[in-house]
Amino acid sequence: MRYLLGLIIGAATLWLLLSGVYKPIVLGLGGFSVLFCAYVCHRMGIVDRESVPLHLLARVPLYALWLGGEIAKSNWDVAKRIVLPGRRISPTIVRLRAHQSSELGQAVFANSITLTPGTVTVALRSGDAIVHAITADNATDMEGGDMDQRVRRLERPFGAPARREASQ
């Protein structure tokens, strides 16, 4: 029920910000389409913890901020390697263990890797991410497991104690 409510509130907010025309008839049409979409999603049985990840909401801003910093750093790094003369790359492929407990967490992890320039998740099979990195250093950074840890903290249920498992 809370996921359905979350979906309705989210869709209504999106509609209000995108529309900008607040006349009664348009608002009515918007309300109708939001409720109709929610009804269709409910009938399809796809409204759950995975499609409406309310539990991530509180922690996403901090993670987004950190990821933004990483994106800025690696943009600078890759841009330098492109512009400066000479061969400054050492392409490397590594296999990383995605320690997230849910598939959503693993998807967030794999997408975060791809989003930072210099590393791309080529495949994600049974909890292992195959990552192509533009330099050996990038690959070693990823093997350090900092991002893996952060995504695991992101998906942790609210109020659960922080677990620090040894990453291997």
């Binding site: 910000l17 841009a79 492929i93 791309v120």
Partner: protein, 104 residues
């Protein structure tokens, strides 16, 4: 104040344009398919974020800025998905990456 915001917005727009061009140069300079994808993601992330941020400063606190935020959010979710699909399709089709170290 207005001149200050305008200047900041121009710097962001110029920076975004520069990163986009650098991404384009990288696509030509890099040796193989996978390393070219890394160059493209400079355009995808840095170029896109700086340009949209510059446009947001031009729009001010209006609904247009809200829409630009949505554009950025959606691009930040869809572009890695597309990159991943591309990389995976290439690997499945047998385009072997030229790598210095293979630690699969």
């Amino acid at each position: 104040m207005n001149a200050l915001i305008d200047t900041a917005s121009w710097i962001l727009l110029a920076g975004g344009a520069l990163l986009s061009v650098i991404g384009g140069i990288g696509m030509l300079r890099m040796p193989d398919f996978y390393t070219r994808m890394h160059a493209a993601s400079v355009t995808d992330t840095g170029g896109m974020i700086l340009m949209l941020a510059g446009l947001m400063l031009q729009a001010g606190l209006t609904l247009v800025t809200a829409k630009l935020v949505f554009v950025m959010l959606f691009l930040l979710i869809t572009s890695p998905t597309a990159t991943h699909a591309l990389a995976r399709a290439a690997l499945e089709d047998g385009i072997e990456p030229q790598v210095d170290h293979d630690k699969r």
